[in-house]
C-alpha cells in the first residue's frame, strides 16, 4: 500500500504522472515478455515461415546424413557413388555406382538397412514421445513412463536367458515387442477405474510396473550364464548393428501405421492441453483419446525397440526441442518429431559406428550421454527465461 503511494508522486507528480509511469511500466513489461517469447521461439504469429524452414532443414539434413552415413565407415565410398548406386537401383544411370569391389554389397546389405532402421526407429520414438507428452499434458513424459521399454527388456532378457528359439532369430524381438505392448496396456488398465484414468494414477502405476520390470531384468541378468548375460546387457544398451532388410520389413510397417495413425489424434491432443474437462466440454472423448494414444505409443515403441534395443532420451528431447522452435500445435509437432527423431538417430548411429575404429558403440549409451546434459541445459535455459516449463 505505502509503496504505491510513495513512488508515484516522486517519479512524476500528479495524476497524469501516475498514468504515464504505469503506461511505461506496462510497455516495458510487454516488451520483456515479447523478447522472452521470441527468444524461446514462442513468439506468436503463425509460425508458418519458421515451420516450413524447420521442415526443410530436417528433410535436407536427413538426406545429407543418409548419404554421409552410407559413404563413410571402414570402407569409404564417395558421395557421388552412393547416390549413383541408389539411382542405378531405380533404373537411372546418370552416375557411376561404387567403384570398389563389394561396394554395392556393403551399401545394400549392411549400410542401407542399418540407416533405414535408424530412420524408422528414430521417427517412431520421436512421435511416441510427442504423443506421450501431449496425452500426459506434461513435458517430462516419455514412452518409458508407462513401461514400454522396460517391459520390452523383460521379454527380451527372458527370451535370451531361456534360449527360446520358436521363431528362430526373431524370437527375442518378438517377445520384446509383445511384452512392451502388454506392459503398457496393463499399466493403462491397472490405472483405470470406473471407466476413467487419472494422469497421476497412470504415472504412479507406471513407476510401480517399471520397478517390477527392473527387478525381473536384474533377476534374469543374475540367473543367466555369462554369454547370455552379455547379450542381455548389450540388448539394453541398444544398437543398430546387424540390421537386415528382413528386420526393417517387419518394423517399418508397424511404425508407419503408428506414425500415420497418430496424425488423426493431433487436433484432439491440442484440445487436451486445455485440461481434461475443457477438452471434454469441447467434444473430445478424452478416455478414448487416451486409449488410442497409449495403443499407438505401445505399438510404435515396442516395434522400435524390438530389434534395436533400448534407446532412451530421443522421445523426451526431440519433441521438446521442436516445440520450442515451431510451437506446440500437434498437427505440425507430430510430423516434425518424426523427422527430428529420424535425423537424431541417423546422426547418433553414424557416430556410434565411426567414433572408434573397429568398434560399434551402443547407441542407447550415446543418446543418453549427449541427451542428458543437453536436456539439463534446456531445463536451465528455460527456467531462467520463463521460470520453468509449461
Amino acid at each position: 500500500m505505502t509503496g504505491n503511494g510513495t513512488s508515484a508522486p516522486r517519479t512524476a507528480g500528479g495524476t497524469g504522472g501516475i498514468h504515464t509511469a504505469a503506461a511505461r511500466a506496462d510497455q516495458a513489461r510487454s516488451r520483456r515478455i515479447a523478447a522472452n517469447a521470441a527468444d524461446l521461439g514462442l513468439a506468436g504469429k503463425p509460425h508458418m515461415g519458421r515451420t516450413t524452414l524447420t521442415f526443410i532443414i530436417l528433410i535436407v539434413g536427413l538426406l545429407v546424413m543418409t548419404v554421409v552415413s552410407a559413404s563413410l565407415g571402414q570402407l569409404i565410398i564417395p558421395f557421388d557413388q552412393v547416390i549413383g548406386s541408389v539411382l542405378n537401383k531405380v533404373g537411372i544411370h546418370w552416375l557411376e555406382g561404387p567403384a570398389r569391389a563389394f561396394g554395392n554389397e556393403a551399401l545394400w546389405n549392411v549400410r542401407f538397412p542399418r540407416i533405414v532402421m535408424a530412420i524408422v526407429v528414430g521417427a517412431a520414438l520421436g512421435v511416441a514421445g510427442a504423443v506421450m507428452q501431449g496425452v500426459f499434458g506434461n513435458p517430462l513424459a516419455e514412452p518409458g513412463t508407462v513401461g514400454v521399454s522396460s517391459g520390452a527388456a523383460v521379454g527380451a532378457s527372458a527370451s535370451i536367458l531361456m534360449g527360446w528359439t520358436f521363431l528362430g532369430a526373431f524370437t527375442t524381438p518378438f517377445l520384446a515387442f509383445v511384452c512392451g505392448l502388454a506392459t503398457t496396456m496393463s499399466v493403462y488398465l491397472l490405472a483405470r477405474r470406473g471407466g476413467r484414468t487419472e494422469i497421476v494414477t497412470l504415472i504412479l502405476t507406471g513407476v510401480a510396473v517399471n520397478a517390477i520390470a527392473g527387478a525381473l531384468i536384474s533377476f534374469f541378468t543374475f540367473a543367466a550364464p555369462t554369454n547370455a548375460r552379455d547379450q542381455i546387457v548389450f540388448w539394453q544398451m541398444g544398437s543398430f548393428n546387424g540390421s537386415r532388410w528382413q528386420q526393417v520389413a517387419l518394423v517399418a510397417p508397424m511404425c508407419l501405421i503408428g506414425i500415420i495413425g497418430v496424425q488423426f489424434l493431433a487436433r484432439r491432443l491440442d484440445l487436451l492441453s486445455l485440461g481434461e474437462k475443457p477438452a471434454r466440454h469441447l467434444g473430445v472423448n478424452v478416455e478414448r483419446l487416451r486409449f488410442c494414444s497409449m495403443l499407438a505409443v505401445a505399438l510404435l515403441v515396442s516395434s522400435a525397440v524390438a530389434f534395436a534395443g533400448i534407446i532412451s532420451f530421443v522421445g523426451l528431447v526431440v519433441p521438446h526441442l521442436l516445440r520450442m522452435i515451431i510451437g506446440p500445435g500437434h498437427r505440425v509437432l507430430l510430423p516434425a518429431s518424426a523427422l527430428g527423431g529420424a535425423l537424431l538417430l541417423t546422426i547418433a548411429d553414424f557416430a556410434a559406428r565411426t567414433t572408434i575404429q573397429f568398434a560399434d558403440l551402443p547407441i542407447g549409451m550415446l543418446t543418453s550421454l549427449v541427451g542428458g546434459p543437453f536436456f539439463f541445459w534446456l531445463l536451465r535455459r528455460s527456467r531462467s527465461k520463463s521460470g520453468g516449463w509449461a
Partner: protein
C-alpha cells in the same frame, strides 16, 4: 480454412437448432449428487429457458460448482434427471453436447505454450466438418474483439495475467457459439471494467436467444445483470426468481449468516452491501504514508 475430411467411421453429429426465446433448453428434475458419502446436492429442480441470464449464488460450499458440473455431465448423478433440449444428457455424444453448451471453468491452465489466438480457435473445434466451419475466422475474430483480447492474439497464453487469461478463456467459450453458456465464476480474476463487460456480453448473448447460467459471488452484479437468480444453500435450492424477489435482506442475511442490507438504487435496481461498522481511520504520517 481447412477442408473437412469425412472419414467413413466418423459419425454424423446432430447439429442444434437455434432455440426461440422462452424455449425450455435445460431442465433439472430432482437432481441429487453425492461425492463419497457426502450429499452435495439434494433435489434440485430448475428450468432454464432460452433468452435468460440465470445467476447461481450462494455461500462457499453451497454446491454451485457441483451443480454446474452435474449439468455438464462431469459428476455422476445420485438421483434425478437432467435434460438438454428435451433429451437426457446421456443421449447426446460429446461433440453434440459441445455444439449445444459451452463451459467456462474457474481456472483454465494450458499445458503447452499456445498463443491466445490458437486457444480461441480451439473453441471452434466442435464445428469441424459442419457448414458452420465456414464462419470460423469471422467468429474467432469477433469473439476476440468482444472480449478485448485482439491485441493479445499473438501472446502466449501462459504469459498472461490472471484477468487476461480469464478474458481469453471466455473468448474461447464465446467462439464455441453454443446456445447454452455455462460460466463458473468467470469474473473472479477480472478488474471491474472487464467484470461489467463480461456480464454485458452475457446479456447480449441471452438477448440473441441463448441461455446463460453464471455463478457469481458479487451479489450486486448478479442483481444488476440477471433475469433470474437461484440461491443455493447447503446443497438445496433456497429460492429462485427475479433478483427483487430473491435478494431480500432477510433471505440473504440468513443464507450467508451475515447481516446484509438491500437498498433500492435511485436509478432502479438493488444495492446489496453487508452491514459494516464505521471504522475510525488510523492515518500515520502524511496521507501518502510518508512523514
Amino acid at each position: 480454412m481447412s477442408v473437412a475430411i469425412q472419414l467413413p467411421w466418423n459419425t454424423v453429429h446432430r447439429t442444434p437448432q437455434m432455440p426461440n426465446p422462452g424455449d425450455l433448453v435445460l431442465q433439472l428434475d430432482d437432481v441429487s449428487v453425492e461425492i463419497g458419502e457426502r450429499r452435495i446436492l439434494s433435489d434440485i429442480s430448475l428450468d432454464i429457458r432460452a433468452g435468460e441470464v440465470l445467476s447461481l449464488a450462494g455461500p462457499n460450499g453451497a454446491g454451485k460448482s457441483t451443480l454446474l458440473n452435474a449439468i455438464t455431465g462431469d459428476v455422476p448423478l445420485a438421483g434425478g434427471d437432467i435434460s438438454l433440449f428435451g433429451m437426457p444428457v446421456a443421449s447426446w455424444d460429446a461433440t453434440e453436447l459441445a455444439m449445444r453448451r459451452s463451459v467456462l471453468l474457474q481456472s483454465v491452465d494450458v499445458t503447452f505454450p499456445f498463443s491466445v489466438g490458437d486457444i480461441v480457435r480451439m473453441g471452434r473445434s466442435p464445428w469441424e466438418g459442419t457448414a458452420e466451419e465456414m464462419d470460423d475466422d469471422m467468429i474467432v475474430d469477433s469473439a476476440m474483439a468482444m472480449t478485448e483480447v485482439t491485441p493479445l492474439a499473438d501472446r502466449v497464453y501462459t504469459s498472461l495475467s490472471g484477468g487476461e487469461r480469464g478474458r481469453a478463456a471466455f473468448s474461447r467459450v464465446l467462439a464455441q457459439a453454443a446456445p447454452i453458456l455455462l460460466l463458473d465464476e468467470p469474473t473472479a480474476a477480472m478488474d471491474i471494467k472487464h467484470q461489467e463487460m463480461l456480464m454485458r456480453i452475457g446479456r447480449e448473448y441471452a438477448a440473441a436467444g441463448c441461455a446463460v447460467v453464471v455463478i457469481v459471488h458479487a451479489l450486486d452484479a448478479a442483481a444488476a445483470w440477471s433475469d433470474r437468480v437461484a440461491l443455493l444453500e447447503a446443497g438445496r435450492l433456497r429460492a429462485v426468481g427475479t433478483p427483487e424477489e430473491v435478494f431480500t435482506s432477510s433471505t440473504l442475511s440468513d443464507v450467508y449468516q451475515c447481516p446484509i442490507e438491500v437498498l433500492p438504487h435511485p436509478a432502479g435496481g438493488l444495492i446489496i452491501v453487508p452491514k459494516r461498522p464505521v471504522v475510525r481511520r488510523n492515518v500515520y504520517g502524511t496521507h501518502w504514508g510518508r512523514g
